[in-house]
């Protein structure tokens, strides 16, 4: 009797471990496996084979933004397939653990990419703290990284407050990291200007999730908003994993007369739970960076979805008439409304930049598979490449020479994010 119960308990425990392992990274493995095998099957006949990988949060809370971005990149690769007899395939990775992007998981994924000689470049990551863990690994293998949505300024540019400094992320001393999004030195200030000039408010309460991205964008917001003559009524940096009650912060904001809230957070770091808890306490606009411009955020906000504003560090592709045919073709393959998120076409553009660089590198290499360093050099040499979200060239840091910042607001019932305006940023 005793023994039977014991074995039953251990079976249950084993089940628990399997379940938690699934939570860990099972989804990533599950989605990558078929792509890898199909890629291996086609190798035999071709002259050579290269893989463009991606690392994005494609399960959990951030899947609402990450998965469409991955689809955008996959779609771009599927448009080319082969070049001069060299097969090009796509291999997606997921950096989600327990529903949230995880820097360690991202680093493991990049380690896997690096150890696969066919991988010549990657699209991603989505989150700045993941990038911080991944860049050094990719750098030592000269793997070209191009992110659709990383915005932390310290990833590419040196400021006195940067820790780690961009050079510390690049042990070889050469740059391998590029992005198409405008950095937080643009994104935070953009919302500050929007609040000052468009919403005409002067007192804002600020919170952050205390992550690389959230805290960075909030800091940049605060600097510009104060320079605009505005007042920060109160500021809190939450340990988001353990905080569930944001009401003391909301009340402090109310007591101090805040006219808006700025959220340096994402939907995955409880950024929009704050919106839900504001109900009945403080009815003011809720503003934030690209991390809150998602459907998951609207779900979290419950019935308190009106009056929300967000910036997105990429142009709205639908505003670009030249992109219409690509958007239409994408919709053929991915017809659901949720298949298009803020960075879908930024993801498409990132993969397109890699493909363009790859083609030039293959040409330069006499039709043979180029080395990873040759691909990095080709990406660096990208010259005024016209794509769906802008025209891209890169400076020595890996930042786009010109980027676009777009504004969105919630409209209608049920609420949805609606494009408001956008402006170009030269750097």
């Amino acid at each position: 009797m005793q023994k039977r119960w014991l074995s039953m308990a251990s079976v249950l425990m084993a089940a628990a471990m399997i379940a938690s392992a699934c939570g860990g990274g099972g989804t990533g493995a599950a989605t990558t496996a078929p792509a890898a095998t199909s890629a291996a099957a086609t190798t035999a006949a071709a002259v050579g084979e290269v893989i463009i990988a991606s690392d994005l949060p494609t399960s959990g809370a951030e899947a609402s933004g990450g998965l469409p971005t991955q689809q955008g990149a996959a779609f771009a690769v599927s448009q080319l397939k082969t070049y001069k007899g060299i097969t090009i395939s796509f291999l997606p990775f997921d950096d989600t653990v327990n529903g949230v992007h995880d820097p360690q998981k991202g680093a493991q994924n990049v380690q896997q990419m690096v150890s696969n000689p066919k991988v010549i470049g990657m699209v991603g990551p989505y989150n700045s703290n993941v990038a911080r863990a991944e860049i050094p690994i990719a750098n030592q293998a000269a793997l070209a990284m191009i992110s659709p949505s990383n915005t932390n300024e310290c990833l590419t540019q040196l400021f006195p407050y940067c820790d780690p400094k961009p050079a510390a992320l690049r042990p070889t001393g050469k740059n391998n990291y590029f992005r198409v999004a405008a950095p937080d030195t643009v994104q935070g200030p953009a919302m500050a200007d929007y609040i000052t000039k468009t919403l005409k408010l002067t007192k804002v309460a600020v919170f952050s999730d205390n992550e690389t991205f959230g805290k960075g964008v909030a800091d940049n917001f605060v600097k510009r908003f104060q320079a605009n003559g505005g007042t920060i009524t109160n500021r809190s940096d939450f340990d988001w994993k353990t905080t569930n009650d944001f009401k003391p912060f909301i009340n402090a904001a109310k007591t101090a007369g805040a006219q808006a809230i700025y959220a340096g957070a994402t939907d995955g770091t409880k950024g929009c739970i704050v919106r839900s808890q504001m109900q009945g306490i403080l009815d003011v606009p809720f503003t934030g960076p690209d991390g809150i411009q998602t459907d998951q955020c609207l779900k979290d906000a419950g019935s308190n979805t009106a009056n929300m504003f967000a910036t997105v560090a990429a142009a709205d592709a639908s505003q670009n008439p030249d992109a219409a045919s690509i958007i239409a073709a994408y919709k053929q393959v991915y017809p659901k409304p949720t298949d298009i998120a803020a960075y879908t076409f930024a993801g498409y553009d990132c993969a397109s930049i890699l493909l363009d660089a790859l083609k030039r590198a293959i040409d330069a290499n006499g039709g043979k598979v180029p080395t990873r360093q040759q691909v990095v050099d080709a990406v660096q040499a990208t010259n005024a490449l016209k794509l769906t979200t802008g025209t891209y060239s890169f400076d020595a840091n890996g930042d786009p020479k010109s980027a676009t910042m777009a504004f969105y607001a919630t409209k209608g019932t049920p609420a949805a994010w609606v494009f408001q305006s956008q402006f170009g940023v030269g750097q």
Binding site: M1, Q2, W5, L6, M8, A9, L12, M13, A15, A16, M17, I18, A19, S20, C22, G23, S59, G60, A61, T96, N98, G99, V100, N210, S236, D237, F238, D239, K241, T242, T243, N244, D245, K247, P248, F249, N251, A252, T255, G268, K270, I273, S276, Q277, Q279, G280, I281, Q296, K299, D300, A301, G302, S303, N304
Partner: protein, 351 residues
């Protein structure tokens, strides 16, 4: 193990060293209160009242969870790590039941007409959690009752993963929005703009207080409660006196989970968010509360929950919220060092 450390400490307390430890503790508390007072005076008194109200509500939820820890520890000396997840399960089950009972955010049934379905959901979630906890006790702890102390502890961790895994598979890994359905009624103290006591705050505190009073009446007045106390005191002697030990222990797990299940639902109603793994942190904090009040001591757990909940809100409201967790676990360490029997003293049999 805790109790042997406690005994050693208790002997130590008697001597000069004990007095020094106590004096240091009082000094530390004094310093903390002075720092808090200087921060409180910089902001308005209305804000202070508001934070205290939140602290009471938050503390009530922790008290409900802490009671389950303390009851189980008192009777079988097991730290039931799965308890935090039983609490989360209460939130998940009630979230699932809400639409079935026609309760939706912004739905047609609003105001006080909601109370009947909400109470029904509360009772169902409580009973479901209790059934789960009793099952866990039956399959994972009872067969190991005579095994070394570490064995059931490991199974408890395993059961915690089982429950988290089930909830993960059920609803996914992300933050779930819990409908904000309680009527948005509030009383503003001292006129408009003053600190507001909302229906939510009152409901949370009221449910917790009613349940805690019911629990203490049950333990003090009923035959089963008496059996629980007897079993906690000396299991073998209680068995010799004809008390059905298995039934009594199962009842303890049942009651502990009733409270945790209620805690899970009011947590959702209060904070409007639940996550499959929230029970891990909530459980640790509640465990700290149980230790703070003196593990095994029912009044102590209720007091500990309120104090820890209050400290959490004061820290979030007046200091950097990033340090709140550090503060709470620093308190756990301090209590274990300076007063291992907790504020109200442990109620664990000497062995």
């Amino acid at each position: 193990m805790v109790s042997s450390v406690a005994n050693a400490r208790a002997r130590l307390m008697a001597g000069t060293q004990g007095r020094i430890l106590n004096a240091t503790l009082i000094l530390l508390i004094g310093i903390a209160l002075v720092i808090l007072a200087t921060r409180v005076t910089t902001l308005s008194p209305a804000y202070f009242v508001q934070v205290v109200v939140y602290g009471l509500a938050n503390g009530s939820i922790f008290a409900l969870i802490a009671l389950g820890y303390t009851m189980v520890y008192g009777i079988v000396e097991l730290i039931n790590f799965a308890h935090g997840d039983v609490f989360t399960l209460g939130g998940f089950i009630s979230l699932w039941l809400l639409p079935i009972f026609g309760v939706t955010e912004g739905g047609t049934v609003t105001g006080f007409g909601l109370m009947v379905p909400l109470l029904a959901i509360l009772v169902l979630s409580m009973v479901a959690c209790a059934a789960v906890n009793v099952t866990i006790e039956r399959v994972a702890y009872r067969p190991l009752r005579r095994a070394p102390r570490l064995t059931p502890l490991i199974t408890a961790v395993g059961m915690s993963f089982v429950l988290e895994g089930i909830m993960f598979l059920w609803r996914g890994p992300f933050n779930l929005h819990y409908p904000n359905v309680l009527p948005p009624v509030s009383i503003e103290l001292g006129g408009a703009g003053g600190p507001a006591i909302t229906f939510k705050d009152v409901a949370v505190i009221a449910i917790a207080v009613v349940l805690m009073i019911a629990l203490s009446l049950f333990v003090e007045r009923t035959k089963l409660g008496k059996a629980m106390r007897a079993t906690a005191q000396d299991r073998d002697a209680a068995e010799l006196m004809g008390i059905d030990i298995n039934r009594t222990i199962a009842a303890t797990f049942f009651i502990g989970a009733l409270l945790a299940g209620a805690g899970g639902m009011i947590f959702g109603l209060y904070f409007n968010t639940i996550t499959f793994d929230q029970g891990f942190t909530a459980g640790l904090v509640a465990f700290t509360a149980a230790v703070f009040g003196g593990i095994g001591n029912i009044q102590g757990a209720a007091l500990g929950g309120l104090v820890i909940g209050m400290i959490q809100e004061l820290s979030d409201g007046y200091f950097d919220p990033a340090w709140t967790q550090v503060l709470i676990f620093a308190i756990l360490v301090l209590v274990l060092v300076f007063r291992p029997t907790g504020i109200l003293g442990m109620r664990v049999p000497e062995k």
